[in-house]
């Protein structure tokens, strides 16, 4: 596989046009760069697949035997594996997006100085933010496809609506990746990443991933309903059960809003960091 260099005419055109006209339009170049870099370490990407699958087999199958049927959001009684699988997909989308947009981006920003190099080309800060988020979403999409294939193989897909879980998990990834980027732009050192852990782990464990919302007392239910992963879990669980209703749009809107706020903050702050 060789990369084809862009034709001289496009390059010249992009170089002479004022970059304002192209804001964010060159994000594709950054994605291309990441694809080229990761060609040599595809194993890292590939191995990322296994963690959610191990969790599914351990928690879903192992603990599943200790747990009876659990009511799903549509009111059907589900086996514990059917209940937990979509939630693990949602949390895998979160984890992947957060990891990509925090650790990886921080390394490129502070140590590898990739973005300084990027900005000496016609690309701008918006390209960097959008490019990195797009890259995180492409990875997230690949993980979601493979996880759903595993769910199919284990007979855990209950409804044809599950196909919408693909765009839905990319949307969940979008929300988390852009907030992750925005947070990274404010990070000072590696020690700060403990705080990222401090946010991600309770979301993973407490967002009704492993048990229904009714387990909580009322006040805790309300708190949980405000947190992002809860909406991701609810969305994917409903899609897999085929419990379609207007409420799902609300879950989706949560991530659209989260993503847009994140991109806005990330672009602004990166501009401040890299251009001043």
């Amino acid at each position: 596989m060789t990369s084809t260099p862009s034709t001289p005419s496009t390059t010249t055109l992009t170089r002479i046009t004022p970059s304002v006209a192209w804001r964010g339009a060159r994000a594709r170049r950054l994605v291309e760069r990441n694809v080229m870099v990761y060609r040599h370490s595809w194993l890292i990407i590939f191995s990322g697949l296994f963690e959610p699958i191990f969790y599914l087999l351990s928690i879903g199958v192992g603990i599943g035997r200790l747990v009876g049927k659990v009511p799903g959001p549509g009111g059907h009684l589900l086996t514990y594996r059917e209940f937990v699988a979509p939630a693990l997909l949602a949390s895998a989308s979160m984890n992947g997006a957060v990891y990509d947009s925090t650790m990886n981006v921080f390394y490129k920003l502070k140590y590898a100085k990739i973005y300084d190099a990027v900005l000496s080309t016609p690309m701008g800060v918006d390209d960097v933010a959008r490019g990195e988020i797009t890259w995180a979403l492409i990875r997230g999409f690949l993980y979601a496809v493979s996880f759903i294939v595993v769910m199919l193989a284990l007979g855990l897909v209950d409804s044809a609506w599950e196909i919408l879980a693909l765009p839905a998990s990319v949307l969940i990834g979008f929300g988390f990746a852009s907030i992750g980027m925005a947070t990274t732009a404010y990070m000072r050192s590696w020690e700060d990443f403990e705080f990222v852990q401090l946010a991600v782990l309770p979301l993973f464990l407490l967002s009704t991933t492993f048990y229904p919302l009714s387990t909580y007392p009322r006040w805790l239910q309300i708190v949980t309903e405000c947190t992002p992963l809860f909406h991701g879990v609810a969305l994917l669980r409903a899609l897999n059960e085929g419990a379609i209703g207007p409420g799902l749009l609300l879950h989706a809107l949560y991530f659209v809003a989260m993503g847009m706020i994140g991109v806005w903050v990330a672009s602004r702050r990166l501009g401040h960091l890299l251009l001043t």
Partner: protein, 261 residues
């Protein structure tokens, strides 16, 4: 002053170092198990305890009483694995503090022993904190649970010592990611921490029995529940010690080859 054994000097270095880093490790070492116990032990536990047949599979105890001592051993493994990968390769390649130590009267063996003592200390600290948390949740009824602390430290060292040896053979950290994904994480999930290994299919069950983590989990669980048989427990201890001793011999070899030139 001059009478301090040299390995303790190396240990002292790590303690000084830690004084600037402890906040992060409190988060990973204390808050994560707390969250796991709350979510899995209490939340998921409420589903497990309501299921009619699960008490039998768990040996007649509540889910959190089953889970907590297993997590104690699993946490020890995770800390052991973390502290014996990046810090060791860092000592050789990135920070090169091992070479700084070797520029003093310390020998390679002192550097190694100092590192291992420090890891044991880190594990002890985390495991003790975890035991306190566990008692707050009311898990661990019998006084023998106190013996679960040294047992968990032994479990952690059964991983840490061989991993130190292995880390000293590496040029980069790529293998560590694979080690965590394909060794540490699967053991955490399948070696009896979250559910009895008797629920695994037969082939996997045998694999689980071979892993040091299962021995650590079974030992800590029996001690926490107060039904530890002497022979069975000593068997677990012996099995874990094999990993520690073999690992130490291997580590002396790899450290010497890498550092003594």
């Amino acid at each position: 002053m001059g009478a301090t054994p040299p390995a303790l000097r190396a240990l002292e270095y790590w303690i000084y170092q830690y004084r600037r880093m402890w906040r992060g490790s409190v988060i990973s070492g204390f808050i994560s198990p707390l969250l796991y116990l709350a979510a899995m032990g209490v939340g998921l536990g409420s589903l497990v305890n309501h299921h009619h047949s699960s008490r039998n599979s768990l040996g007649g105890v509540s889910y959190i009483a089953f889970l907590a001592p297993g997590m104690l051993a699993a946490i020890a493994m995770q800390i052991g694995a973390q502290e014996s990968t990046y810090p060791v390769l860092g000592g050789i390649k990135w920070v090169k503090n091992y070479f700084a130590m070797l520029a003093t009267p310390l020998r390679v063996v002192d550097v190694l022993v100092g590192q291992l003592l420090w890891i044991a200390m880190r594990i002890t600290l985390t495991v003790t904190l975890f035991l306190v948390t566990m008692e707050l949740f009311g898990a661990g009824h019998h006084w023998t649970v106190l013996l679960a602390v040294p047992s968990a430290v032994l479990t952690g060292m059964a991983f840490a010592v061989p991993i130190c040896a292995y880390a000293a053979t590496r040029e980069g950290d790529a293998a560590f990611a694979a080690l965590f994904r394909f060794v540490v994480m699967p053991m955490f999930l399948f070696s009896g921490t979250f559910f009895p290994v008797t629920q695994l299919p037969k082939g996997l069950r045998v694999v689980a029995y071979i892993t040091p983590l299962w021995h650590g989990v079974d030992l800590c669980r029996a001690l926490a529940l107060g039904d530890a048989g002497v022979v069975r427990s000593l068997g677990h201890v012996a099995y874990l010690l094999v990993f520690v001793v073999a690992g130490a011999l291997w580590a002396r070899h790899t450290f010497t080859r890498r550092l003594a030139t």
